[in-house]
């Protein structure tokens, strides 16, 4: 890896929000391939995930790293081939109807896209019909549902039923996450996996999309 790429990757890992745009531009100007710059940024984000798992980084650090990625990608995206991301599969991600909590979901989105997934993020307070359309239109392999409020857990089974009714349930794997989710709930709601944090989510979707 070239020196410029090392610097870009390290800037993501070190959460250098103010530096990242300039560093990405610098690497491109120095003749680095856009895809190589992207890979370096993703490697930097992977290191952030590792530091989080080791307890060195906190939730806010993950959020900040996501913002650093966002700013870097703003500069990089016009230079990238359209299909350079998303080789591992397409994941439809959203927070259930009635719930607007999305810190965790957004982190999962960032970690998945930087790990090579194509992420369709539907946002928050999402009705089940929208999920069904997104799964169908994008031929998604997996669905990631976030729910924090205990009063909204029924939305999980609503989505599962809607996907079944649309004849799509057999084509997609479903994972849930969020403060109020438990294995007991996952079993009861008929979903395929439960994730505890954004780093674990990558492993879960890798395994779900391989099946």
């Amino acid at each position: 890896m070239g020196e410029q790429l090392d610097i870009v990757g390290k800037a993501v890992t070190d959460l250098e929000l103010e530096e990242i745009e300039q560093l990405v531009s610098g690497a491109l100007d120095a003749g680095e391939e856009p895809q190589a710059v992207l890979d370096a940024m993703c490697a930097g984000m992977g290191a952030v995930g590792g530091l989080f798992e080791e307890g060195e980084y906190f939730l806010a650090d993950l959020v900040l790293a996501g913002e650093v990625m966002k700013d870097g990608l703003k500069v990089l995206e016009p230079h990238l081939e359209v299909d350079s991301m998303g080789k591992k599969g397409t994941v439809v991600l959203f927070t259930v109807k009635g719930d607007v909590h999305d810190i965790g979901k957004n982190l999962v989105g960032t970690m998945l896209s930087t790990s090579g997934f194509n992420v369709i993020d539907l946002g928050v307070d999402v009705p089940k019909e929208k999920v069904v359309d997104a799964v169908r239109d994008n031929s998604a392999q997996a669905v990631g549902m976030s729910v924090l409020l205990t009063s909204m857990v029924d939305s999980i089974s609503d989505v599962v039923s809607a996907l079944s009714a649309a004849g799509l349930r057999d084509n997609v794997k479903i994972a849930i996450g969020g403060a109020c989710t438990t294995q007991q709930l996952a079993d009861k709601m008929g979903v395929d996996a439960l994730g505890r944090d954004a780093v674990e989510a990558v492993r879960i979707f890798e395994s779900l999309c391989e099946q």
Binding site: N106, L149, T150, S151, C180
Partner: protein, 228 residues
């Protein structure tokens, strides 16, 4: 107002709920008050609650000043005491007086960040968290992180439970709303549910768990008792 707690009855409450209970007449030394920040980690909250329950001797009832709080209360038990828990999703429903009031509020504007005196004064309040972020990252990065975290919130609502003078908290909440780019509103709260808990008026809005039994997982939706 009913602040008459029967003799012997114990209360374990979150700091935010204890704030309201004390205004309803419950002496501080009648309550075991736990840190507000525990709600961030449901497993940790459950362990702390269980340890607090286990440390109480005798067989008098224990009232929990909590909601379901991400199911942190599910699985709790006591060998010798009855446990009484309001069946609402969290303390916000307690401050608004019912789960129905909370759901109506969510329906109206899902992106509402609620505040009460207890939420404002907690050492791990959102504002205190922001100050910590500022210390860690400097102002620019801290704002960016806070905005990213609160991206879908549109409104900051200060709940007036009628238990304290609002002036000071209103000024603070307004400033916080401005800092985070949210519109500010003041909404009426209610002590109805907390008063019912204190007075022993436990119908379907409460789970009363006999000794040696375990707090069960309830399903809230579609099973709401009418609000009197």
């Amino acid at each position: 107002m009913s602040g008459e707690l029967a003799p012997g009855v114990h209360i374990i409450a979150c700091a935010t709920v204890a704030e309201e209970l004390s205004r309803l007449g419950v002496a501080r030394d009648r309550m075991i008050v736990l840190e507000f920040g525990l709600h961030m980690d449901p497993d940790e909250l459950r362990k702390t609650l269980q340890a607090s329950i286990d440390a109480i001797e005798g067989d008098d009832d224990i009232l929990l000043g909590y909601g379901l709080c991400s199911y942190a209360v599910v699985g709790l038990k006591s060998r010798s005491h009855r446990l009484v828990i309001p069946m609402v999703q969290d303390c916000i429903s307690l401050f608004l007086g019912s789960e129905e009031a909370r759901m109506a509020m969510l329906e109206k504007e899902p992106g509402t960040y609620f505040l009460t005196k207890g939420w404002i004064e907690a050492p791990d309040s959102a504002y205190a968290e922001f100050k910590r972020l500022e210390e860690r990252y400097g102002e620019q990065r801290a704002r960016r992180v806070a905005r990213a975290m609160l991206a879908n919130y549109t409104r900051l609502a200060l709940i007036d439970t009628g238990n304290y003078k609002m002036d000071e908290y209103r000024t603070f909440a307004r400033a916080q709303a401005e800092l985070l780019g949210l519109k500010f509103e003041e909404i009426p709260g209610s002590n109805r549910l907390l008063e019912r808990m204190l007075s022993g008026d436990w119908d379907s809005e409460f789970q009363v768990v006999p000794p040696a039994a375990t707090v069960a997982m309830p399903y809230l939706q579609g099973a709401q008792p009418p609000t009197p």
